[in-house]
């Protein structure tokens, strides 16, 4: 048996006792001291495990939230497709299987070991993907209008993104739980607020897509759409139209995706066709797009710069840069600052209010950077959902 009194007397000595006024076993303070000291090795051994439990609990709560969002998005997509089917063919087919197949749809990016010709391969894969998705949607709700199909495409894209976020988070959560790896769990916990924010934005985006309302990203097409209003529109590429007008002795070519469908068009292909193939002489290109603001910057702020203002996977940007570099055409950019959430949810008033400032900036760029007799191409970049021309 352990001789407790000798241990106490040793402790007594440790704390400077020995003169008869050391630790008294009946004193509460002595027990507090012992427990305090004993807790240190306990936490040295179990602190990480306890912390893991707390983190797992927190991630689990967020995962439930993500699951609810995913389920809601799936349900909304199914309901919308059902309505579209009824509208177009007065049949009532359950599209759940078709929608579920879309949610699991994936695209394999081309190999980048040899980067030469990578953009061409990427373009080919993305076109194949777009065509396949569109054909499947058309098959799912035969007879639906193009506008309706583009809405469904956007809704399914948002639902697929939500599904992917949920599945990736679940993967790391289960992996972290299985291995009790703090490294995985802490990383997941740290990015979780950003993922939840993005997931919430995607969920709200579905609402805007369903109603065909303009989103923050639509500001570029909205500005160019106003300039095109009432003018003859010609097809420049798939889902992309252009118009011509005169401004202070200059010829202006206006280019945007064909609205009010939910599409970004193919501005890269359009400029290649117009400038490269048709031989239209362009002296400057002005691009208008929504751009991500930094924290602290105001939504709807307008800024001016140089370069191809276009997002996406990079194919369109490459095509625009290629043509402009080949023909030595300077590119000017006008951007409207907004957050990721603002860019995919209904256009905020602050962004719509930037319309006038963007238009003024474009005309001042035209006047400053070009002279009479020159030709200018203005491209409204972004999803043109809810914006006609």
């Amino acid at each position: 048996m352990l001789d407790f009194s000798s241990a106490l007397s040793q402790l007594n000595g440790l704390f400077g006792g020995g003169g008869g006024e050391g630790l008294d076993p009946s004193s509460a303070w002595m027990w507090v001291s012992i427990i305090s000291i004993a807790i240190i090795p306990f936490f040295m051994i179990y602190a990480q495990k306890l912390q893991s439990r707390v983190i797992i609990g927190e991630i689990s709560k967020s995962l439930v939230k993500l699951k609810t969002m995913r389920e809601n998005a799936r349900k909304e997509a199914i309901d919308y497709v059902k309505i579209a089917i009824t509208r177009s063919s007065s049949k009532s087919i359950d599209p759940a299987v078709g929608v579920d197949r879309f949610l699991e749809y994936f695209t394999i990016m081309p190999v980048d070991l040899d980067p030469s010709g990578l953009v061409r391969k990427l373009d080919h894969i993305m076109r194949t993907r777009d065509d396949r998705v569109r054909t499947e949607i058309k098959k799912l709700c035969s007879g639906a209008e193009d506008k309706e199909i583009s809405k469904i495409e956007n809704i399914l894209e948002a639902a697929t993104a939500l599904n992917l976020i949920y599945k990736v988070v679940r993967h790391y959560y289960l992996m972290g739980k299985r291995t009790t790896s703090m490294f995985i769990l802490v990383q997941l916990q740290m990015v979780m607020p950003l993922l939840i924010e993005e997931a919430e934005a995607l969920q709200k985006a579905i609402g805007a897509f369903k109603h065909g309302q303009p989103i923050g990203d639509s500001i570029g097409p909205m500005v160019v759409g106003k300039m095109m209003f009432g003018k003859e529109k010609k097809l420049a590429a798939r889902e992309t139209v252009y118009s011509e007008e005169e401004y202070k002795g200059r010829k202006i070519y206006l280019l945007k995706a064909e609205g009010p469908s939910g599409t970004v068009g193919r501005p890269g292909e359009a400029i290649t066709r117009l400038v490269g193939d048709m031989g239209i002489n362009i002296d400057i290109v002005i691009m208008i797009d929504a751009a991500l603001k930094l924290e602290g910057e105001k939504t709807g702020d307008v800024a001016e710069g140089i370069g191809a203002a276009i997002g996406g996977i990079g194919v369109e940007k490459y095509q625009i840069e290629d043509v402009t570099a080949r023909f030595n055409i300077p590119i000017y950019a006008v951007i409207v600052k907004q957050s990721v959430q603002d860019a995919i949810t209904i256009m905020r008033k602050e962004i719509a209010d930037a319309f006038g400032r963007v238009t003024d900036t474009i005309y001042s760029v035209i006047e400053d950077r070009s002279s009479e007799g020159q030709s200018i191409m203005i491209i409204g970049v972004g999803n043109t959902i809810g914006v006609g021309q």
Binding site: G225, G259, I346, R348, I351, G386, G388
Partner: protein, 70 residues
């Protein structure tokens, strides 16, 4: 409050219309089928047919949320 659940803020969606004839700008609640640059509507002020064009559709958030966003 520290543990208060975040309230979901839903924006009010409005449609802004401009009459090409009298330049009257009107703001109304969004209706299904509205899209920017949709024309062919009649002006309520000057009664010109096909003169009204939708010039903007946007979501307006409550003042409280705007302050939080800055």
């Amino acid at each position: 409050m520290l543990f208060r659940k975040k309230k979901e803020i839903v924006p009010e969606t409005y449609t802004e219309e401009t009459c090409q004839s009298c330049n009257e700008i009107t703001k109304r609640s969004y209706e299904e089928g509205d899209y920017v640059y949709r024309s062919g509507l009649q002006c309520k002020k000057c009664a010109s047919a096909n003169a009204v064009v939708i010039t903007a559709i946007y979501g307006e958030y409550p003042e409280e949320d705007k302050r939080a966003k800055v």
